[in-house]
Symmetry: C2
Subunit: 481 residues, 2 copies
């Protein structure tokens, strides 16, 4: 099939699917979750083989994937997510009568989704981007990640099984293999209405630029990762040096450091730097190197480390050992805050289990750091309660720089729920006003439309008099059900 015929079929499917009820969409998604679980025994070994990730992790990721699918099924079954809003008519208003205006969120049309190498299931073929787009009412043209083609095809087969079982048009989901050229062609196609991507900064920014140069620019929701800094305060670090070192190294090295939210940067007060360094050195000794997702990622990791080794500002606590190139060997370097502040290259993400420990001397330096910090998916603050009492200004600065601000625990492990925000200021994403994880991810694929004086029988059920769907709506400015 040519891309023209793929998109034409998707557009035709869209005009049918956008009128399918929330309940029917939910049933389709629930069917898909069941089918994926029924094929667990085939999917998991494929994904393990193609990603080098352990079976336990992949099993968990399949659970996360079906959990996400059920979250969106519940969301569209309940139905209030469309933000139905009604401003009733007032024929007696003077000087002019007031029209009846009703607003709802409407799906955009066919969208292009790119698979991610580091989550072969949860951020790939039937992952959060695909599912939130399908839940919103948009058909998906899916570009498989070349690192796990067989896993991707198998999951795509499951999606098609669910489509057929649900009596929906097969063009609702199209699975496409290919590289950069194929991905670019999809983004450039005039019937594409939005793009979702999780991956590198270079890849995401290129798609963003391409989409903005189209005759009709379209939104690109690119989640491009970040270094997810942890800010440690003296009392807290002094009180818990060993447990915090354990937590930090655990989060840094989880999945060989191949998470968008792994903490590649930690700010440590000078007075506890040596104790903390010793504690993390102990932890690092216990971490065995493990294979990365694919050779290209391992190569990029060692290339970055090699460059950083040429920088004399860094003192290496542990150097990476590239003796088995596919293996990601943990690495950690120390740098003074003054030096870190002097060159933005030290803010660049190194995808893998590498972190920079930045030693600061004063609160003034912390403020300077907060001001210069690039946009992040997450920022974590480790402090005793009394240490934050006079830090409103610093906390405000940190808020400006992230999508999620943590005060306990570690940034890895992104909860899938209603309140999650997985997205942050540029360069962590190209769309800081959106999330790629959690219920609000559905909002990326819709836009508002208002109907003025539309006859009742033509209105979507969500906007009809008497609220036949029983959803939350805003009527005359007040929430009502």
């Amino acid at each position: 099939m040519t891309y023209d015929s793929i998109f034409s079929a998707a557009q035709e499917a869209f005009l049918f699917y956008k009128n399918v009820s929330g309940k029917e969409k939910a049933a389709f998604l629930e069917t898909l979750a069941e089918i994926l679980e029924a094929h667990r025994a085939e999917i998991v070994p494929l994904a393990v083989r193609e990603s080098n990730l352990p079976e336990g992790r992949i099993n968990g990721e399949l659970g996360r994937t079906t959990g996400q699918i059920r979250l969106f099924a519940n969301l569209v079954k309940e139905g209030s997510w469309v933000e139905a809003t009604i401003d009733p008519a007032d024929p007696n208003r003077s000087p002019l009568p007031k029209a009846d205006i009703r607003r709802i969120l409407t799906p955009l049309g066919p969208v292009v989704v790119f698979g991610a190498s580091n989550f072969p299931l949860a951020f790939s073929t039937a992952g959060g981007d695909t599912i939130s787009a399908l839940a919103s009412g948009c058909p998906v043209i899916y570009k498989a990640h070349p690192a796990h083609p067989e896993t991707s095809q198998k999951v795509a087969d499951c999606i098609h099984e669910a489509i057929v079982k649900s009596g929906l048009p097969s063009a609702l989901f199209t699975h496409i293999e290919g590289g950069i050229a194929e991905g670019q062609a999809l983004v450039k196609h005039h019937l594409a209405k939005a793009v979702a991507f999780t991956g590198s900064h270079v890849g995401g920014k290129a798609l963003f630029d391409l989409a903005n140069q189209r005759e009709e620019p379209i939104p690109v929701y690119a989640e491009m990762g970040s270094v997810n800094p942890i800010f440690t305060f003296p009392k807290k670090l002094g009180n818990e040096v060993v447990p915090l070192a354990k937590a930090f190294i655990g989060s840094l090295t989880l999945g060989v450091g191949q998470f968008c939210t792994n903490p590649g940067l930690i700010f440590v007060p000078k007075e506890h730097a040596i104790a903390f360094e010793n504690a993390i050195a102990d932890e690092l000794n216990d971490i065995a190197s493990a294979p990365m997702l694919h050779p290209g990622i391992a190569q990029a990791y060692y290339d970055s480390i090699q460059y950083l080794q040429s920088r004399e500002e860094l003192r290496w606590v542990k150097v990476a050992d590239p003796k088995h190139l596919i293996n990601g060997s943990t690495a950690l370097a120390e740098i003074k805050a003054k030096d870190w502040l002097s060159d933005a290259v030290f803010q660049k993400e190194v995808f893998g289990a590498f972190a920079m420990m930045v030693v600061y001397k004063s609160e003034d330096e912390l403020l300077e750091i907060a001001k210069k910090l690039h946009g992040q998916l997450t920022i974590t603050v480790w402090a005793e309660a009394e240490e934050l009492q006079n830090q409103l200004f610093l906390l405000n600065l940190l808020e400006e720089k992230c999508g999620r601000l943590l005060f306990k625990g570690v940034p890895t492990g992104v909860e899938v729920g209603y309140a999650m925000q997985h997205g942050g200021p540029y360069p962590s994403t190209t769309a800081p006003n959106s999330t790629s994880v959690g219920a609000h991810a559905i909002k990326r694929f819709v836009r508002p439309i208002a109907f003025q004086d539309m006859p009742q029988e033509l209105l979507p059920d969500a906007l009809r008099d008497g609220n036949p769907l029983g959803i939350w709506r805003m009527v005359n400015g007040l929430m009502t059900k």
Copy 2:
């Protein structure tokens, strides 16, 4: 002041203002509305002189402006607009305990707003863009429209009076005069976080491109107008040929056609084309030409008309009469659907009281038109109820092409309320997922942030346990107050 010092002061004001409560922001906005009304006798004559618009219209526009200000005051006083969402912790969840995650909308920072020539008050200095940004918590750097500098300065003085009276930092609002170069410098400044613009396609698209080429791309909410087509169906038009002609010409020529939503395109079935043409010709005879906003706009109008007069596909029902160049003289031309479909230039907006009447022969032609139609702010359908019974497919196509779909009345006269959507697919705007009129306009200047395990005393009031603000919140997926 240099732009650097202006933005630095705005950024400093931002870090203060973002912690100001909704009630205080509302009091500030209400004070501003009162001050504007107190200065009505000075503002109105200035705006009349600088815009060539009649006094009645400007008086009404001031009322619209203060009405908008009070709408946003009520919105932030009530407070639920921040979409507070709480996913409570579950320490007993297995295999891992669940963190406490709370999401809220947070303001972006200093934003750049451009004034519009055609609404010297309601879309200018204290217009919807400025007010929705201030309501959201963002300082505004305002670039005055060169067509009404004195009106703009007077309104800016009122805003500063309100700022002083409310004890807020004066850098909350900065009034800047200048042309294209000044506007571009503002959009390029690294501390600018978003841009709002209402005006021409050329201007809006240039700002959009500029903002995307920044080191940190920022959103541009450009409302660039459209031709706002009216689709007429045979029975309806046959039944009401004279009243519909009156309504159409009234909307087309209102304010010398200088509205984003004036209908510059009407589709008419062949069987009623002659009767409708005669009826609109009668109406057109009664329309006196009137001065346009400024000579540049009149010149652009006549240039466009002159080009169209060179196109042999058009038959002129009424030609424009450029004898007084500042006056906008109504013009109307007829074209066959087949010819209209052959060249996208016929879809281009001519800003002013010009319309194209497109004569169609069949429903197939209507579908073809709907498919080829560019994105619009509004589309209007004039049909008897029975004529729409089998038109779901056409209506779906029209939905894809607009932000507001009307079934009665005319597109001019944009209600300011909760359900209004003033925005539509490109090229009518650069951000179809937003509105520049109505309560939802505030959402353009915020992004979501999630706080994980944040101590109660650091949380914004909207997210604290016990709901101290008494707002609507989503807790564990359920709406509650």
